[in-house]
Structure formats: C-alpha cells, structure tokens
C-alpha cells in the first residue's frame, strides 16, 4: 500500500481498485479506471481464481461426474450435482423430458427446492439483511449477521432455521450434505422415508409463514426509499432463464427463454441441448471468467442477466398460490414489463424462497417420494447437456463421453459467469454515481459491494482453510497506475 501511495503522490495518477468483495462467495477485485478529469471511464470486476475444473474432470468415468462436480463449489454443490446428473441422464439414454421415473424426478426436485430455500435464506438473512435493516451507509460494525442477531434476534433465528430446514432436506434426499450421492445417471438412489417426510411436514407451514414474512420485509424496506432502491446500480438488460413449457417458473427443468429489457422474446422454448447455437462465450484478457452472450444479438448487445430477477422477468406465472400473488405485485410494479432494478433481486429472491417452501410442501405430500422406481436406463450415447436454475441463475453442464466411459470434454457455464457483464455494469453505474474526487471512500466501497452482492455471486470454489476471502478496490488511470486502493480483509 505504501508503495502505491508514494507513486500516486509522485505522478498524480488515476486508478481505483476494490479488492475483494466481502459477503459474496469467494474473492473479487474491482478496478475503476478514470480519465484526467476524474470521470469513470471503465470498471472491471476481476475474477482472480482460475478453477480449471473442466480439465480436472477429463478422463474420469461419466458416472462419477454428479459426485465429483460437487468439489467445484461448497456453496451450491447440489446445483452442480443435479446439472451433471441431468447431463448424464442423457448419456445413459434417459430424459430429459419424462425419461426419469416419477420418484426420481420428484426426489431431485425436492433436493433442489430445498437447496433454493437454504441458499436464498442464507443470502437474505445473513448477507443482505444488514444492509436492509441498518441501511447502506451504516457503521461497518453493523454490517454483518452478528449485529442482526443482536438487534433482531427473531429475524436471525428465522434465517437460521430456514437455512437448516433446507440443509436437512438436502441431507435426506442426497444422503449427506457433503458429496451427496442421491442423483445418479438415470435416476436417484434412495426413497424418502415416511419418518423423514413426516418430520419435514411438521415444520413446513412455519417455513412458509417465515418466507412470506421475508417478502413483506423486503417490500417494507423498499417502500421507505423506493427511488433509491429502484435506481441503485440499475440498467436495462436482457434476461434469460429456463421456463416450463406452459411458461411457468421452474427451477429444475424447462426450455430456454430470453427476453429483452422491454419484455420482447428473443428466444422462447429453445431446447437447451442446442445451447451452443444460441449462447456464445467471449474471453477477455483481464478476467478468468468468460462473458456469455446471446448470439442473435452479438457480443456487444447480447449480454444478459440470470438469477431471481431474470427468472421473474422471463416466466409467465409462478405455480404456487402465495408466491403467485407476490409475483403479480412484483410484475405490476413495473407495469408488467421486465424489472431492471438491480436491488430488486432481493425482492425476487424472497418470492422464490416462498415459492420453494410451497413446492416443498406439495412434494412432501406425494407418495411417489417414498416408493416407486428409482432408476432407468436407455440407449447409451456419447454426449449430454444438463441445465438447471441454480439459486444464482442458469447453470450449464455439457459433457462428451468416449467408448471407454471416460469424460473427454466438459464445458460449464456457471450462474455467476452468466451475470459477469451485468455485475460489471452495476459496478460501473455505482462508480459513476458515487465516485467523487480520486479516493476510494467507505461509501464507495460499501456501494460497490452492495451492487455486486445483489447478484449473490459465487466467485470461487470452496476452500475455507486457505482462509482469505477479501475485497479489493483500486482506482487507476488509463495506463494502470494505481491512484487509490482500499481493501476489506476477511478471514473465512
């Protein structure tokens, strides 16, 4: 840092860097590049860890993929588990449409909606609630879950128990929380016992009630300062997700739909096995994370958002009663057009959490979970694509398998990669609005974090023992000389 300061003073240079982002998954670094007049010229959210996972999995037998891919991320391993299983269903000649047995599909759905519940609960109660409850400019000592636990213990407790409920659903359906084995190519390897089902049913109404209260809490906070919430880090964009054949919101399976900022359909009901014909991936030399784009619109205009906000912008309705009512309010707020407000990700995320709880209740009442056919097999083929709506957005898994059953090729587009361009644009917007002078202030640092965190990004895979998950922001000039730098260190 002292070297930077010396250089800054000597040369009057112009660069801002925020590195790394706290309260997001992993490690992020932000660079803000300004011109001679101090105006924001470019911003960049760098991804500093190279995963190399696609090469790591080459040579492994295909049936290992649903378990091994969970090593990719300790935050949403269930998403990778299920996306890989869906791809391998195709490889073993089953699915994706109606190929699985009713038991297998419903068990997987229960696992996935349990994951949605716990992931959204974690993000809302423990990552973004400090911002919502204490304010975006609150003292740094309050910007964490411990402050929420101290001042709002009942809300903190609801968050803990919602998260735990979802985790227990995962354990019961996947077998364990770490490296679950529930989903296997062509099906599932267990039923849900009646004892487990009855235990979950005992608490599900409470979970639905708390999830509904969380939606109301977001709406209440929004109503206190709607102009701020609507404009913060916001910009028009395309949106992409899976939707069911009838246009319903569906996290587990569907076809690709993309809409533009006005709601006009760019793609609709695209079979995701053909995703390469519709989605391109651009590489830029300053980030390990690729930049996906809608081919029809090209690299410049084809970027899109995924995740809760995008899903509620692409779907026609939400197939559960309480969440549907909230969805109608959500859509009415923007006159039925797509909602392009970045902070409304939180609102959409809570509607999805409510929907997840409702779907879990419906599934738990289905006898197919505790009996019935577990696995099917068909004609083995050499290639499979599996897509799923992960908590953070659309997740693509694509594999080619050789005649010796080894994986030859793997291509993943993870949810956060889909949101790469939008996160960069959100940071750019915030930097334009908040940067004054040539120094990174606490306010700027916080606002950049808030903009990134709305997307709930997962920037690296899980390895807590190495311990450092910091945020760094740098302000630089066009030549890359650092003018100002701030770091929020954090040990995980």
């Amino acid at each position: 840092m002292s070297e930077f300061v010396t250089r800054i003073r000597e040369k009057s240079l112009k660069k801002v860097v925020i590195d790394p982002v706290t309260r997001v998954e992993g490690h992020g670094k932000v660079t803000i590049i300004i011109d001679e007049e101090g105006r924001v010229e470019r911003t960049r959210l760098h991804i500093v860890e190279f995963r190399g996972f696609e090469r790591f999995i080459q040579g492994r037998p295909y049936w290992e993929a649903p378990v091994v891919v969970q090593r990719l991320c300790g935050i949403c391993p269930v998403s990778h588990h299920l996306a890989a299983a869906k791809a391998m269903d195709v490889v073993v000649g089953v699915g994706p449409d109606g190929g699985l047995s009713a038991t297998a599909e419903k068990m997987r759905r229960l696992m996935h909606y349990g994951q949605m519940l716990q992931s959204h609960a974690l993000h809302f109660y423990h990552l973004c609630s400090p911002d919502l409850l204490f304010g975006f400019e609150s003292d740094v000592s309050k910007r964490n879950v411990l402050a929420v636990a101290a001042e709002y213990p009942e809300i903190a407790k609801q968050g803990i128990l919602l998260r735990r409920y979802g985790q227990e659903i995962i354990r019961a359906t996947a077998g364990k929380r770490i490296h679950g084995t529930g989903a296997i190519p062509g099906g599932i390897n267990r039923h849900l016992s009646k004892e487990e089902r009855d235990g979950f049913l005992t608490d599900i109404d409470q979970m639905i009630e708390w999830a509904g209260a969380a939606v109301e809490l977001v709406k209440k906070v929004h109503s206190q300062n709607p102009d701020f919430f609507d404009s913060f880090g916001s910009f028009p964009s395309n949106h992409l997700s899976l939707v069911r054949k009838d246009g319903a919101l569906d996290f587990y399976h569907g076809n690709i739909r993309a809409v533009d900022a006005d709601g006009l359909k760019i793609y609709d009901q695209v079979d995701y096995k053909d995703y390469l014909d519709y989605i391109g991936e651009e590489v830029r030399n300053w980030s390990y994370m690729k930049f996906p784009f809608i081919r029809k619109l090209g690299k410049k205009n084809g970027w899109y958002r995924v995740g809760p906000l995008a899903r509620l912008n692409t779907c026609d309705f939400v197939p559960s009663p309480l969440a549907q009512k909230q969805f109608e309010i959500f859509r009415a707020y923007t006159g039925g057009k797509p909602n392009n407000c970045t902070l409304h990700y939180h609102w959409a995320r809570m509607i999805e959490m409510l929907h997840s709880a409702e779907v879990i209740k419906e599934l738990l009442s289905d006898d197919d979970l505790s009996s019935g056919e577990l696995i099917r097999r068909g004609q083995r083929v050499g290639e499979g694509v599996g897509l799923i709506e992960a908590p953070r957005g659309t997740l693509f898994h694509h594999y080619r398998v050789n005649g010796d059953d080894q994986i030859e090729m793997c291509n993943l587009i993870v949810s956060t990669t889909n949101n790469n361009d939008p996160m960069n644009k959100a940071v750019h917007r915030v930097a334009q609005d908040c940067l004054t002078g040539k120094e990174i202030t606490d306010g700027l640092l916080n606002n950049v974090e808030v903009a990134i965190r709305a997307y709930d990004p997962c920037l690296s895979c899980a390895t807590h023992a190495l311990g450092q998950m910091p945020l760094e922001v740098k302000l630089t000039d066009r030549e890359g000389n650092v003018i100002s730098a701030r770091r929020k260190g954090s040990r995980a």
Binding site: R71, V145, I160, R164, H464, G467
Partner: protein, 158 residues
C-alpha cells in the same frame, strides 16, 4: 434433537488436506457413540449455531495451515468479529451467533489438523494420513470419556 456432544467436521474433501474435518466426522459417525451428534459440512455457517444450542459440548474439526504437528486442540470462545464473510464463518463467530440468538453456547474446542496441500483434486499425503490417524485416536478418547470436556481441557493445555 437434544444431544450431549456435537462434532462439526468441515472442509472440502475434493481439496487435499482440506478433507480433515469431513474425514474425522465420518470416523466419529462410525463409532456411533451414544449422546454424540455428528455434522459434516463444507463450511461453517449460521445454522451450526442451532447445533451448538442443542449441545453441552462442541468440537469443531478443521484443517489448518498453521496448526502444530500433527494437530492441536484449543478452546474457543464467542467473539464478535466484524471482518468475516458470513458465507463461511469461524468457530468463534458461530459461537457468538449462538450466544446472541439462543443464549450461552456450550464449551467448545477446535481440533485443528495440520494441512499443507489444498489444491483441487489433490490426494492426501502419507504425512497427512498419519495426522488423521493421530487425531482420530484423540477424538475417540474424547468422545468415549466419562468427562469429555475435562479430557479436552487436559489436551488443550498440553
């Protein structure tokens, strides 16, 4: 769901020595000691505060780059840290969350197994396996003891 001891082993088994926590949790599960609940997870997080609230003693098991050879046992106290990321909490902050939400947490110790290689897909080394075997002997001694907290205190002091 009340239990006497909760063992929380955490880490990513796909990352070499980071597997220490889950590996030892798996062994503890196999011993099936009455009154012991075993939790295995990738990372510590808020829901583990609820596990503490239901226990009289908590044992966190983790890999650590800076642990003594082959392992170290240390008591852990609730701590209000502002600089952590809540996607992956420390034992101290899980304890503090438990204190704020549920009241006094139980006494707790961290069993830190020395680790050196955390690369994706790395295989555990022979040295790491010896550390795991040694830590497993300690863990079994604690879980089967008449007074587990006292055994922890003795080893932590040593």
């Amino acid at each position: 769901m009340s239990c006497t001891i909760v063992v929380i082993g955490y880490g990513n088994p796909g990352r070499g020595d980071d597997a220490a926590g889950p590996l030892l949790a798996e062994k503890a599960e196999q011993w099936n000691v009455p009154g012991v609940r075993v939790v295995s997870d990738y990372q510590l997080n808020v829901e583990h505060a609820a596990d503490l609230a239901e226990s009289e003693l908590a044992l966190f098991i983790d890999a650590a780059l800076d642990a003594a050879e082959p392992w170290e046992l240390r008591p852990v106290q609730p701590l209000n840290l502002n600089d952590f990321t809540t996607h992956a909490m420390l034992p101290e902050t899980v304890m503090e969350t438990c204190r704020k939400v549920y009241g006094s947490p139980p006494p707790a110790f961290v069993l830190a197994v020395r680790g050196e290689n955390f690369e994706l897909g790395a295989e555990p080394s022979a040295a790491f396996q010896r550390r795991i075997d040694s830590a497993a002997r300690l863990l079994e001694e604690i879980l089967r003891a008449e007074n587990p907290a006292a055994v922890c205190t003795v080893h932590a002091a040593g």
